[in-house]
């Protein structure tokens, strides 16, 4: 979550931007001058990942979904390429299916966004950081998959209300597939736990973009800008 000091730093970055004339790079990975201690220091630079602009809430949410699908696809791609030795029979087939679904989601969203895709001008795609996960054991892989799939479900449930009809329809088609994934993965993590998290209300989780950004930040090597992402 973001405290006031973080917001203050964000504002600071934006004002630096205008001075530096770098605002044109609105939907790209950009450099923003900002010292860790909030003291201007031209010798220290941090990067920020910008996925949202002032122009279109639909595009902002689709880019947010695209980032989530990139993350999931990269995760499964890495696991399928180097699977843990103690996977049970049949589990590599599950992981391969999951990877392919996420790759298709990612590529479709990239297509749907066209030139509005946040990494359109990137020289190389964003590289995700999975160093906080244990991917050398079956248990570690399924626990990580459970985390990512449930983030995806909660993100789509929370973001639906920000989309106009054509894009809401699209995301709905993906959201239920993520829920199908999450259920299988939970059962593989711990038999009998497939419904953990639903609770007595009978409702799945719904998270705001800011809540989700905080959850996925550990996997992204630069801070994700929350500017222009909905706060509800």
């Amino acid at each position: 979550m973001h405290d006031n000091s973080f917001l203050a730093r964000t504002l600071h970055r934006r004002s630096f931007f205008r001075v530096a004339g770098a605002g044109a790079a609105a939907s790209a990975l950009v450099l923003a001058g900002c010292a860790k201690d909030d003291t201007p220091n031209p010798g220290t630079f941090t990067q920020q990942l910008v996925i949202a602009t002032k122009d279109s809430l639909d595009n902002n949410i689709l880019n947010y979904a695209y980032l989530l699908e990139q993350l999931e696809a990269a995760f499964y791609d890495k696991v399928v390429a180097t699977p843990p030795a103690d996977l049970l029979p049949g589990e590599l087939a599950y992981l391969t299916d999951l990877r392919d679904h996420e790759l298709i989601h990612r590529e479709y969203l990239k297509y749907a966004l066209g030139t509005n895709v946040y990494d359109n001008s990137f020289v190389t795609p964003l590289t995700f950081d999975f160093s906080s996960l244990t991917l050398t054991t079956r248990a570690g892989v399924w626990a990580a998959a459970q985390l990512l799939e449930n983030i995806g479900v909660a993100a789509y449930n929370g973001a639906g209300k920000h989309l106009t009809a054509p894009f809401l329809k699209l995301l709905g088609k993906i959201a239920s597939v993520e829920a199908r994934h999450a259920t299988l993965v939970q059962e593989l993590v711990q038999p009998g736990s497939w419904a953990t998290g639903i609770g007595t209300t009978g409702l799945d989780a719904a998270k705001t973009p800011l809540e989700v950004v905080a959850l996925i930040q550990p996997f992204i090597p630069v801070p994700i800008s929350t500017d222009f992402l909905p706060t509800t």
């Binding site: 679904h101 297509y111 829920a179 199908r180």
Partner: protein, 289 residues
């Protein structure tokens, strides 16, 4: 009476019309009795109304209509699992303390929560629970029960998805003392139905006596014993394609981003919505209520 001439004409075109609409038969008979005594001027309205319900696309005119439609499906699902848990024919499989009984009880509890939530949101506008649901042979044995369960859950996912864009995004009613966004709540139920569907599919896969070789997601439009309409196109088909759909937004996804994917993979990656008339017809085809 012209009404019966009209029905006769429809039957020539669609011989199954009365079979598909068995539940309407008594209503139509009653209508016949009434119309004999009615002024002719009033008859066309009554007839038009009957046909709108019987053969036309049913229109969900407002949010309450959508919620009552969802409530009907939740009543049905809740009763289905309650009957299953009490069925002597399933007792050997749904034994006390078993994972299977635990799962079915959990799903039943979720459906009860959905019923209560929708009733709270609708208040005095909530439609009453139908007097009974007759699921026919659904509980005759465990594999049959699970097949029905998969059909209801996969249909439920399609039903909520089909309505998502009809729910106003800015409707924030107070339900049970909390201000909620109605669309968000619908999406939260939608993904729970998908979780149910996935787990029921997993249970069918794991059935001791030769499980169904399927995953938690829908491959092509394969029902593996569930009625074909559950996975087929709705109406209009361009808006509600079959689950085997390979094209999204005009792009055929078997070749995208420099890679190729099988039809099975592409169809699995997207679930498709269904219109309410098709959903209710599917329900009426296997359940009498």
């Amino acid at each position: 009476m012209n009404l019966f001439q009209i029905i006769s004409e429809i039957e020539k075109v669609d011989p199954e019309i009365m079979d598909r609409l068995t539940h309407r038969r008594s209503a139509l008979s009653a209508l016949g009795d009434i119309t004999r005594k009615m002024a002719l001027a009033a008859a066309p309205i009554a007839i038009g109304s009957a046909f709108n319900k019987a053969v036309g696309q049913q229109t969900l005119a407002n949010a309450n209509d959508i919620l009552n439609y969802a409530l009907l499906l939740e009543y049905l699902e809740e009763d289905f699992y309650a009957q299953a848990l009490a069925a002597p024919t399933l007792a050997a499989n749904l034994t006390t303390g078993s994972a299977a009984r635990g799962a079915i009880q959990t799903i039943k509890n979720h459906e009860t929560a959905h019923v209560n939530l929708l009733k709270a949101a609708l208040g005095t506008s909530a439609n009453p629970r139908p007097a009974s649901f007759n699921f026919g042979t659904a509980f005759s044995n465990y594999p049959t029960f699970l097949t029905f369960a998969q059909a209801f859950e996969d249909t439920g996912v399609r039903a909520y998805k089909g309505q998502a864009t009809n729910i106003p995004r800015t409707l924030n009613p107070t339900v049970g003392g909390n201000v909620v966004n109605l669309l968000t709540v619908a999406l939260q139920i939608h993904s729970v139905e998908a979780r149910h569907a996935s787990h029921i599919r997993y249970m069918r896969r794991a059935t001791a006596a030769g499980g169904i070789q399927q995953f938690g997601w829908i491959t092509n439009a394969e029902g593996n014993g569930a009625p074909a309409p559950v996975y087929a196109a709705g109406n209009p088909a361009a808006t509600f394609p079959a689950e085997g759909n390979l094209s999204q937004g005009g792009l055929t996804l078997t070749s995208v981003g420099g890679n190729t994917y099988t039809a099975a993979e592409v169809s699995e990656a997207f679930d498709e919505g269904l219109d309410n008339t098709t959903v209710v017809n599917i329900a009426r085809s296997v359940v009498t209520f």
